[in-house]
């Protein structure tokens, strides 16, 4: 190269470097980024004393207005534009150890001090944390000239990934082989290996579109809904039991089925969460919309005798607040329960304003978990239809709606446990009101306008009882009287006419007595609920009696599936919400109304109820909803989130590894994809990033040991559900039946031992034991062992992330649990039935069934050694064959037993329980 060119080159390079350097310095000098530069220092060094919890010397750095306000000294610690005269900066340099900040901790580095100084000199501007800024359309990283010539060009996702990879000197790996990809995408999208015909079609199809066709097929399979329901059940803390003490059965599986359908129908995510939060508040809600609200009825209930129902109702409400934030908004809100958030801009009373959205629901920790949606079956459907028709003839719209809701949901009822002023009466076991001889009780302030009928649900051990109701005082004339006789089979509901016109609200005072009660302590009537209702319509019609009887039968003993749902209180039972001092529910202070945190509500819009809340959450301007879901789905596919802390997008959570990608996907999810989860998942699995090989090399392990930048696909151990379901498919045992009450597959004895609960784990019949894991009965205080061993939780509270472990109990579980041994025998039989030509071929087939891949010779050889050793071992003790193969329907031989030992080993392989 000629000398002048060299020197020109040198000069141009120098100029470039100079310009770049200048640009860099210029930027750094000109603008300190509050979020990137300042906030981390404040969070790490200052805020534990000058923040949400403590405000030492009256100085807090959490909110702008606080930080710039006068401190206890009377002067502000920060003077925008004047670092030199700002007390905060002076304290960083002070020589007096009692003055110098951080107080009695290591001095800040010069670099950090200068950042803070510059920030103040530049005006001490605060800015909003990235996660609280709206999701905007992101520009795609441009393609480099080289990318254009690359064989696989990848999708938009890959451009973001490649940009980051390049910056650390790594590259994406090549696409994984077809079989690996087939298994990976099947486990990810449907939770099990793809059906045989889908696998064959894909492996045969050599066209460019074969993978996309596979993805579309998988997304359309019913198994898809089951797989994603498994994820959502952790967030919803779904369980088939109530939680505390006897941990009795809760029938809420219809919600699980609702989830499966919602995922399979690809219900748009905005609608998906609106219905779960507020389906009951939608106009004339359908059964499905009511069922969706069971989401928040998965909170725990305490049946223990002697518990305060209000305490556990409150606990459930707090849990709904925390779960809504963690599951749907990716924010840890729980700390605001006791004090303002120490790091994020949430104030203490904002927690309770948010709680006010949930605090007015009907549920009161009652034994029967009211309100319950009744989905009628058989004859009850006909009865329901005929009563509905009857109601249609009425002109009283109010009564019509009242009765329809009453039949459908059992509301509006007053639970007997709110009774007070008891005289020879008691809240028995703190569950139901019991009245004895000459007993009195009261229920306060009930609206009686337009109420002509009193319905009660009760049991009585005695005949000839008289029940008398008074408004406000026993001195007034009784407004309703009923004769009570002994009830035979459990609860009974009767209708009592109200003989007076009583407008407005009144205390209901009532009395019970029976001549059969010989002494004070003998038990009389016990109430479940009371209900003040308008007259049953159509009293003038000749069929009135018949329809009223049908109605009462339907109300009393419906043939129906009952599911706990959310409903709001009628106005007379509306609860006020108060701020709890330091989170203690007994220390109620200021009264608050429903609202969202002010940082999200600069316009000061009104949000009155859960439906308004859902509207805010699903509004495209909400910065958290879409990001949270995108991040969650990413984590499900890639083993880690773009924000690692799925539960906390706040300033203490992990910083996003690819923020612009997260924003890009979140924007597309809301706009382009119209909240379609299937479309979003397709975007992700179509990317070359997803499709690359999971083999890592030395360079990537050195430069990116945690594979945060995706230079290869992650290897992730399967979830508890996937391990079970996959094994069922591999061994040909799976029962693909969907929906219905939870089932009980094999479980060792002695797992269930709850006090006062006589229930036993009774193994389900026939092939019900081979259903997918989401149908396994989930008892909170005695969870299914395999679920727990493989990192499931007890589902006591919302879990965003299962922390993966690797333990000997997992090994023992897969080696010795009868479930897996039984499946190993089934797999061995399946293979042997095909009469393969050699042991090698049998092993190869079994391995292929388990992993979708054909094993190499070394693996076959290793497994063959086990087969031969097993065969020899069994041959020396012939009784072993029948011990190993207990199933009487299977023809036993030594070859089969030895093969079962081999297939059991295969089911335990890392490659089988890991997504490759």
């Amino acid at each position: 190269m000629p000398a002048f060119l060299k020197s020109t080159g040198f000069i141009s390079i120098s100029i470039c470097v100079f310009l770049l350097l200048g640009y860099f310095v210029f930027i750094r000098e000109e603008k300190v980024d509050y979020n990137a530069d300042v906030k981390p220092i404040i969070n790490q060094k200052c805020i534990s004393c000058h923040g949400g919890v403590k405000k030492k010397a009256g100085f807090s750095l959490l909110f702008e207005e606080e930080a710039l306000a006068a401190t206890e000294s009377g002067k502000p610690a920060i003077i925008p534009g004047d670092a030199k005269n700002s007390e905060m900066i002076r304290r960083l340099y002070s020589k007096d150890p009692d003055e110098r900040m951080p107080y009695h901790e290591a001095e800040l580095s010069d670099h950090k001090k200068r950042i803070l100084e510059k920030w103040i000199d530049q005006g001490a501007h605060f800015s909003t944390h990235w996660a609280y800024q709206p999701v905007n359309l992101t520009t795609l990283p441009s393609k480099s000239i080289f990318d254009l010539f690359k064989k696989e060009s990848g999708t938009e996702i890959d451009r973001f990934i490649d940009q980051k990879l390049k910056s650390i000197g790594l590259e994406r790996s090549l696409e994984a082989d077809k079989r690996t990809l087939l298994r990976r995408v099947s486990l990810d999208l449907i939770g099990i290996p793809a059906p045989q015909h889908v696998q064959l079609a894909f492996l045969k199809d050599s066209s460019k579109e074969s993978y996309e066709r596979l993805v579309d097929t998988l997304l359309s399979l019913p198994a898809y809904g089951e797989r994603w329901t498994a994820m959502w059940m952790d967030l919803a803390r779904y369980a088939d039991s109530k939680g505390y003490e006897r941990d009795y059965i809760r029938s809420i599986w219809r919600y699980r089925d609702w989830l499966i359908n919602a995922f399979n129908q690809d219900k748009p995510y905005n609608q998906f969460i609106t219905e779960q939060l507020a389906g009951d508040l939608l106009p004339d809600p359908t059964d499905d919309q009511f069922l969706a609200t069971a989401f928040h009825r998965n909170t725990m209930n305490n049946d223990e005798g002697g518990t305060d129902n209000e305490e556990f109702r409150t606990a459930a409400i707090l849990d709904r607040v925390n779960t809504t934030w963690e599951a749907l908004l990716g924010t840890s809100f729980a700390c605001v329960q006791c004090h303002s958030h120490p790091y994020d801009p949430f104030k203490h009373d904002e927690y309770y304003k948010f709680m006010a959205f949930f605090n007015n629901t009907r549920d009161e920790d009652t034994y029967d978990e009211y309100p319950l949606l009744r989905e009628f079956r058989n004859n009850s459907i006909h009865q329901y239809d005929s009563v509905l028709n009857w109601l249609q003839t009425s002109s009283d719209a109010n009564a019509k709606q009242f009765y329809k809701t009453l039949i459908k949901t059992g509301q509006q009822c007053i639970n007997s446990l709110i009774a007070d002023s008891l005289n020879n009466a008691a809240l028995e076991d703190t569950k139901f009101l019991r009245m004895r001889k000459n007993a009195w009780a009261r229920i306060k302030q009930i609206g009686l306008s337009n109420k002509q009928t009193l319905l009660i649900r009760y049991r009585s051990p005695v005949d000839r009882g008289v029940l008398t109701f008074f408004a406000d005082s026993s001195k007034t004339k009784a407004f309703a009287v009923a004769n009570i006789n002994k009830t035979k089979d459990g609860w009974n509901i009767i209708s009592i006419p109200i003989s007076q016109k009583l407008d407005g609200r009144h205390d209901i005072v009532f009395h019970f007595d029976s001549p059969q009660l010989k002494n004070e302590n003998e038990n009389g009537i016990v109430f479940d609920w009371l209900c003040f209702a308008p007259s049953f319509p159509g009293s003038a019609n000749k069929d009135f009696k018949a329809y009223q009887t049908t109605f009462l039968q339907l109300l009393n003993k419906p043939d129906a599936e009952l599911t706990p749902i959310m409903m709001d209180n009628p106005s007379e039972l509306k609860r006020n919400t108060y701020v709890f001092e330091r989170g203690n529910w007994l220390l109620k202070t200021k009264q608050v109304e429903p609202d969202i945190p002010s940082i999200f509500n600069p316009q000061k819009n009104k949000y009155a109820n859960r439906l308004d809340l859902a509207k805010w959450m699903t509004d495209k301007s909400n910065p958290l909803t879409s990001r949270t879901m995108v991040n969650r789905l990413w984590e499900q596919l890639f083993g880690q989130g773009l924000v690692e802390t799925l539960e906390d997008f706040g300033s203490q959570g992990a910083a996003p590894t690819h923020q612009s990608l997260l924003d890009y996907l979140s924007y597309q999810f809301m706009n382009q994809d119209q909240w379609s989860i299937k479309k979003l998942l397709k975007r992700m699995v179509m990317s070359a990033t997803y499709r690359q090989s999971s083999v890592s090399d030395k360079k990537s392990q050195e430069l990116d040991p945690l594979n945060k930048y995706y230079s290869h696909a992650p290897r992730v151990r399967l979830t508890a559900e996937q391990i079970r379901d996959q094994a069922l498919v591999i061994c040909g045992a799976i029962n693909n039946k969907m929906f219905g009450p939870s089932v009980m597959p094999f479980q060792p004895d002695g797992i269930w031992a709850s006090p006062y609960d006589g229930r036993k784990w009774e193994q389900s019949k026939g092939d019900e034991i081979y259903r997918r894991a989401i149908y396994t009965y989930w008892k909170r205080t005695g969870p299914y062992p395999t679920q727990i061993n493989f990192d499931g939780t007890a589902r006591e509270v919302c879990t965003s992330r299962r922390i993966r472990t690797n333990t000997p109990l997992q090994a023992l579980n897969l080696l010795n649990d009868s479930t897996y041994w039984d499946l190993s025998v089934k797999l061995a039989k399946k293979i042997m039935d095909e009469k393969p030509a050699s042991i090698e071929l049998s092993i190869s087939k079994a391995y292929e069934a388990a992993t979708g891949k054909i094993p190499n010779a070394a693996k076959i050889q290793t497994l063959k050694i086990l087969y031969i050793a097993s065969y020899k071992n069994i041959s020396s003790q012939p009784e072993k064959t029948s011990q190993l193969i207990a199933d009487s329907t299977i023809k036993k031989n030594k070859q089969l037993a030895a093969m079962a030992i081999t297939t059991s080993a295969i089911l335990n392989l890392d490659e089988v329980i890991t997504k490759n």
Partner: protein, 495 residues
């Protein structure tokens, strides 16, 4: 702050162990070539041994941040809440007031689980005498305990704020009355690991045929990784779930199958270079070792006759006494935290089993012999100095006779009482033959030396070498600790 950092560090290491590819970064030389069994040990040559241990085995023994006296804890929980008034808290005044209406001042504004209206006071259903050099009062239900009373510090004014079983048990073990937090044993194994790699670090034994009211959550790991949850060892069926091979397997078959699994996994490691595979290989080896170690330690039939006589144990049946003996065997083998729950102490007096003069006496008899034997046995083995033994229930019982729903119960019984009850601690630096705390003349309220459940937890953690205020784990955006924001070490009982 120092110890806090250590645990933050440990936490981070555990996370990298659990979820990440930490292993290779630290240990990248020729792993796949090393023979099975020495795969992991090979690593120690290359880097900081302690960090390595943490990285590859979350249950590896770790030093405590402070000097601790206790290496192990045996926590004996009498589920249902035993009556302190028939065991430790002698109230002659209450005897005199037997049958009288309870003074209004005790019931005004109070909530009880079952008592309604005005109950009658119930005098002690036992006789009391002073024992040992310490002169501690014990009832006639504590015949054996008389001989070991000089080993314990008796806390006579423990108080809780929960009066229902499940929440009170949760408070006792998880530091909060709600579900979802890690139990004490999980915290401790998270902080200290286990001394014996063939046995779980945190073992739970139950007797009385029932789990405690709060279920398995009282030994759950809450938000800590599930590897730290208590492992329930059972005296019937598999001592640990899935420990026993399927029928027809023998030791040779199991050995060759695990060797095969590990060899094929090694081949997979060659392919993928995923360090998680190496962890899996070591976990399968450990499973194999546990299959021998656990039945061995759980088998009490090899114990000499004098031991059985001492404890009142009968091999082969599920009993509290058997569990107490097992607890000794487990700590002897290096298990960090042994948690016993004994069901049947809820003496309401609704039936003979819960009557203070019937079922309760029977419970005391079994308890008294086994628990006293434990202290004697630990002492003669030199283990008492390093084993902290804690005894108690989730709350106490009222000085009043229960009148459920306002009616006198048919048998002599007491309701739940949260304000004052008795617990004791022994061994591992706890004062010997010492009483702390006093209640009023009817045993209703503490008048001095009141301690809370969080104080008990703070003290246990201190004896293990933790500052309870610094032992934290980040979750949901804040650092959680066992003692929440409460708790103070009970200094007067520390020797």
């Amino acid at each position: 702050m120092k110890s806090n950092n250590i645990h933050q560090e440990a936490y981070r290491h555990n996370l990298s162990y659990n979820t990440r590819r930490h292993f290779l970064r630290e240990c990248r030389t020729g792993m796949g070539m090393l023979a099975l069994g020495s795969l992991l040990d090979g690593c120690n040559f290359f880097s900081n041994a302690e960090n390595e241990l943490l990285a590859k085995n979350p249950l590896a023994a770790k030093p405590s941040p402070l000097l601790g006296k206790a290496k192990s804890v045996i926590f004996l929980h009498m589920a249902g809440a035993p009556s302190q008034l028939e065991m430790f808290d002698y109230k002659p005044e209450l005897q005199k007031m037997d049958g009288m209406d309870c003074p209004d001042s005790f019931i005004q504004g109070k909530k009880f689980a079952f008592i309604r209206g005005v109950p009658k006071l119930l005098g002690p259903q036992a006789s009391f005498k002073q024992y040992g050099e310490s002169g501690i009062w014990l009832s006639n239900h504590m015949q054996h305990f008389q001989s070991v009373v000089d080993e314990v510090s008796l806390l006579k004014a423990v108080s809780t704020d929960q009066f229902n079983h499940a929440p009170a048990q949760l408070l006792m073990h998880c530091g909060t009355p709600r579900l979802g937090r890690p139990s004490m044993g999980s915290w401790v194994t998270y902080g200290l690991g286990s001394e014996n790699s063939n046995l779980p670090g945190f073992v739970v034994l139950t007797s009385g045929g029932r789990n405690p009211d709060a279920g398995k959550s009282v030994w759950g790991s809450g938000f800590l990784p599930s590897v730290y949850q208590g492992v329930q060892c059972r005296s019937e069926g598999d001592p640990v779930l899935f420990l026993k091979d399927p029928n027809g397997y023998d030791r040779d078959l199991r050995k060759s199958s695990i060797e095969t699994i590990n060899k094929v996994n090694e081949l997979s490691y060659e392919e993928y270079k995923d360090p998680e595979i190496l962890s899996r290989i070591s976990q399968y080896e450990m499973a194999f070792k546990m299959q021998i170690a656990v039945p061995d330690v759980m088998n009490i039939s090899d114990e000499p006759a004098y031991i059985h006589e001492l404890y009142g144990t009968k091999p082969g049946k599920e009993s509290f006494a058997n569990n107490v003996l097992l607890a000794r065997k487990l700590v002897e083998k290096g298990v960090r935290f042994v948690q016993l729950f004994d069901w049947g102490w809820d003496s309401h007096g609704t039936d003979p089993g819960t009557a203070l003069d019937q079922g309760f006496v029977e419970k005391c008899r079994e308890n008294d012999q086994a628990v006293s034997a434990l202290l004697i046995d630990l002492k003669q083995r030199g283990l008492l100095d390093e084993t902290l033994v804690v005894w108690g229930g989730e709350f106490g019982r009222t000085p009043m006779q229960e009148n459920r729903d306002g009616k006198q119960n048919s048998f002599k019984g007491r309701d739940h009482h949260s304000d004052a009850f008795c617990m004791w601690m022994a061994g591992a630096g706890i004062k010997k033959g010492f009483t702390y705390g006093e209640t009023d003349p009817i045993g209703y309220n503490p008048i001095e030396g009141k301690v809370t459940v969080h104080d008990i937890q703070a003290t246990i953690l201190q004896q293990l070498g933790f500052d309870h205020t610094a032992f934290t784990y980040p979750f949901q955006g804040r650092n959680f600790r066992l003692t929440d924001v409460f708790g103070k070490v009970i200094d007067p009982i520390i020797s």
